[in-house]
């Protein structure tokens, strides 16, 4: 491979989550080889995994639900992947280079990889996938909108040209946008593709009963060492208590959620292990800055300061969440402890803000909220917290579809809607707080914030980006377009017969390393 002289190569072993140090002069290229972990004898074991929702689709181009990823990460490989050390490393990509201006990514792919249907994995397949994901109707469209072209100079080389620098690209390609589906299967199945998905991953799709179960079986031609398990069956339990009962009865060996009130009981049970770590996402409230009381910044600040997050976490969430005051949790590479620690409500300060906002006696607003039991409790606790200062919060419970529709139409005063979090910090803030961003429900618009968000996309050093994001979060604290309440924790419980469990900050159970004793 030859490169233009002024191109610089960045080491990718730590990719974007560690700094892609700006190197001057000659660059380096780092490569990865197929997994060299010792080949473990495969077994004829079937692992049963409990899922808290039925994955709506197994097609990464149209997936929007978090739970889809639980299955898809075991069906598909991604171009890059998340490591257990919380860094982004290549997966189907063997090595990559970035031009000095940050606009050209050149990917060298692993050879001798095939899809589960026998289709060869190569540059053409990558181009097919990225082009498909860039279609306007795809759920991946917005995260790839900065790509201007994808070319394939050789069978295993892909060149991605960007309109503007995008340092989160490897992290984006470690998620659903980087999941490679078989072009042959998509062309053959058409609209039916989600019901017979094909990837290059360690397990292949076998069958599905919608609303009940999804069965995957070992991919005998996996390009790395074969997985230890023969099959993985996902069982769907829409009630978390039922899911836990099924873990206790032995019907499943691992569950993707534990009801908050059961966590401490399960922790004391010697037959099970509970994993409870802060996730990458956040829950909170959009305040509509274009209508109603929240056009007034003092009233937004008053609401933001009147809620005691730690009480919410202790009482309603029983420790399965972490109090938040910023978009970036401790799992994020740009976590800033000082900025994410909520201040203790200060009555004097809150009353002063209400007076400055022209509402010394308080005011009224309506919160649109999902209607699940835990959020309902959170709403009611917040309602009583705000009432102490004369702020009367009415709760309007809606089903998720309606809540989402109103959120998109900016048809609300306050809207309780969270975000499941992504591997790169940019994906947690850019579209939400950039002027006219596609998910900017608050209609927040701030020139300085926009500049900082763009700057963070261009910077390659994560340490530098952390500083930029700190300046951005400082603006969020002043302007309060969104009230950050808590970061959801990733909570798993598994039977101690399960071996090889590794925790990943995206909350996905990767079955490749698992086995049963």
């Amino acid at each position: 491979m030859s490169f233009h002289k002024n191109k610089v190569f960045f080491t990718i072993s730590t990719a974007t989550l560690l700094s892609l140090s700006a190197i001057t002069g000659c660059g380096t290229t780092t490569t990865t080889t197929p997994n060299t972990s010792p080949v473990v004898n495969s077994t004829n074991q079937t692992l049963n995994i409990g899922l808290s929702a039925d994955p709506p689709t197994l097609d990464p181009a149209y997936s929007s639900a978090l739970v889809d990823r639980q299955v898809m990460f075991n069906l598909y490989n991604t171009l890059f992947k998340l490591s257990t050390q919380n860094t982004i490393v290549p997966d189907l990509v063997k090595s990559f280079t970035v031009s000095q201006n940050g606009l050209t990514y050149t990917l060298q792919l692993h050879q001798h990889v095939t899809f589960q249907d026998g289709t060869p994995f190569n540059a053409a397949a990558v181009k097919f996938n990225l082009t498909r994901d860039m279609q306007p109707a795809s759920a991946r469209h917005s995260s790839l909108s900065d790509i201007s072209s994808v070319t394939t100079p050789s069978e295993y080389t892909v060149v991605i040209q960007l309109q503007k620098p995008l340092s989160p690209l490897p992290a984006i390609l470690a998620g659903r946008a980087g999941m490679m589906v078989s072009p042959t299967a998509v062309q053959k199945e058409g609209a039916n593709y989600p019901n017979d998905p094909v990837g290059t991953g360690p397990f292949e799709f076998k069958s599905r009963v919608k609303g009940a179960s999804i069965q995957l079986v070992r991919n005998p031609h996996y390009w790395r060492a074969e997985p230890k398990l023969e099959a993985v069956t996902y069982q769907i339990f829409t009630d978390p208590n039922v899911e836990l009962t099924n873990l206790q009865s032995g019907a499943v060996q691992i569950v993707d959620t534990v009801p908050p009130q059961e966590v401490s009981t399960m922790e004391q049970n010697s037959n099970f292990t509970v994993v409870n770590h802060t996730g990458l996402g956040y829950e909170g409230i959009y305040l509509n800055m274009q209508q109603g009381p929240f056009t007034n910044p003092y009233l937004r600040q008053a609401v933001n300061l009147a809620i005691n997050r730690q009480t919410l976490v202790n009482v309603a969430l029983k420790g399965v969440a972490t109090a938040a005051y910023s978009p970036f949790s401790s799992a994020s590479p740009v976590y800033n402890q000082q900025q994410d620690t909520p201040p203790t409500p200060n009555a004097v300060k809150i009353k002063q803000l209400l007076a400055e906002g022209g509402k010394p006696q308080g005011f009224q607003f309506t919160l649109q909220s999902p209607n699940d039991p835990i959020t309902t409790q959170v709403d009611q606790i917040m309602q009583s917290m705000l009432a102490q200062y004369g702020i009367n919060m009415k709760i309007e419970q809606l089903d998720f579809g309606t809540l989402l529709a109103n959120n998109e139409a900016h048809s609300f005063q306050a809207s309780f809607l969270g975000w499941s979090g992504r591997l790169d910090p940019d994906q947690d803030v850019y579209s939400f707080f950039y002027s006219n961003g596609s998910f900017n429900a608050s209609e927040f618009s701030n020139v300085q914030a926009d500049q900082l968000l763009n700057q963070a996309r261009e910077e390659t050093s994560m340490a530098q980006r952390a500083k930029t994001y700190a300046a951005f979060v400082h603006i969020l604290h002043q302007q309060v377009p969104y009230v950050f309440l808590y970061h959801q924790n990733n909570v798993f419980a598994y039977a101690n017969t399960l071996q090889g469990f590794h925790y990943y900050s995206d909350g996905v159970i990767r079955a490749y390393s698992l086995s049963l004793s």
Partner: protein, 312 residues
């Protein structure tokens, strides 16, 4: 026979109007499938593009009539969510709920009939009081609470039944029965309570009537009077109640299905409403309505068998 044919023909306008009502209602609720499919990280342009792809940009009458044309050709359309044929989804889910409903009614009859007759015969005696107590408990205890209790007791504490893992009865009969036992008992117990009270009340009315006294004065034995004369005449209101119960069960026993992780018809309907999967909602609602209408027809035919005077 003409009576049944007439009833079947009358079903057509009922189902037609019902499909219009369902179609209008689901389009009245906010939110749209494209947005639910694409989720939070969907730009307005992506939502519009998917709407066009799913045909949601057409006028409502055009959408309805294209769906109706499909139905008349035996095609219920495809799920907006993942392109699966709606008929295939229904075929997967309906047997679960039908089995649950049949099992529930069998359990209800097995419990309600002997106890109901016993309670009527021994009116105001301890047997009657005890039976009524059982019936009241059955009606009062919510099936989801009883279900959860049975689940914890018989799957976690005593490993007698599996806690999930439904398989169709025709492919894995034993596995199927072991999974279905607890949910059938949980719902059957409640329906038994309703049926028991109805049968007891109805029997007491009949037992007070002249013809029963006449039969007894003729020297016909007590049991013969009860089974030959009284029960037959007491059945009409019981069949009515039973029919309503079956219709209700076929509409989906969503909570029971959730607790026992059964991929049933009720759960499908609820899930499709939440995801705004219009074609699946219309297909499942149509089949649910058809099931209720058929059960009503069956009830009417049964009336005729029990009381020939009602066949006119």
């Amino acid at each position: 026979m003409t009576y049944i044919a007439r009833r079947i023909i009358m079903m057509i306008p009922v189902l037609f109007f019902l499909s219009i009502i369902v179609f209008s209602l689901i389009h009245l609720i906010p939110g749209n499938p494209a947005q639910v499919i694409l989720g939070q990280d969907a730009s307005p342009s992506a939502i519009r593009a998917l709407e066009v792809q799913l045909g949601l940009n057409q006028s409502l009458p055009a959408q309805y009539f294209s769906w109706l044309a499909g139905v008349l050709h035996g095609n219920l359309g495809r799920s907006l969510l993942d392109g699966q044929p709606v008929s295939q989804l229904i075929v997967q889910r309906l047997p679960v709920t039908v089995e649950l409903a049949i099992g529930t009614i069998i359990v209800a009859i097995v419990i309600a009939f002997p106890l109901g007759i016993l309670a009527a015969i021994y009116r105001d005696k301890w047997a009657d009081v005890a039976t009524l107590f059982v019936a009241t408990v059955g009606i009062s205890v919510p099936p989801f609470w009883l279900g959860m209790l049975l689940l914890i007791e018989f799957t976690v504490k005593i490993h007698l039944f599996p806690s999930s893992g439904y398989e169709p009865i025709w492919s894995h009969p034993l596995q199927n029965l072991s999974v279905m036992t607890l949910p059938i008992v949980a719902t059957g117990f409640r329906e038994a309570g309703v049926l028991l009270r109805m049968l007891r009340g109805s029997l007491l009315d009949v037992l007070d009537q002249e013809f029963i006294r006449t039969a007894r004065s003729k020297g016909i034995s007590g049991w013969k009077v009860i089974f030959h004369h009284a029960v037959k005449n007491a059945l009409i209101p019981v069949i009515t109640t039973g029919g309503l119960q079956v219709a209700g069960l076929l509409g989906g026993i969503v909570i029971t299905e959730t607790i026992f992780s059964l991929p049933g018809f009720g759960s499908l309907l609820v899930e499709s409403v939440f995801s705004r999967d219009y074609t699946t909602i219309q297909g499942t609602a149509l089949v649910a309505a058809l099931a209720v209408v058929l059960v009503n027809l069956l009830v009417d035919i049964t009336y005729g068998l029990v009381d020939p005077r009602m066949r006119t």
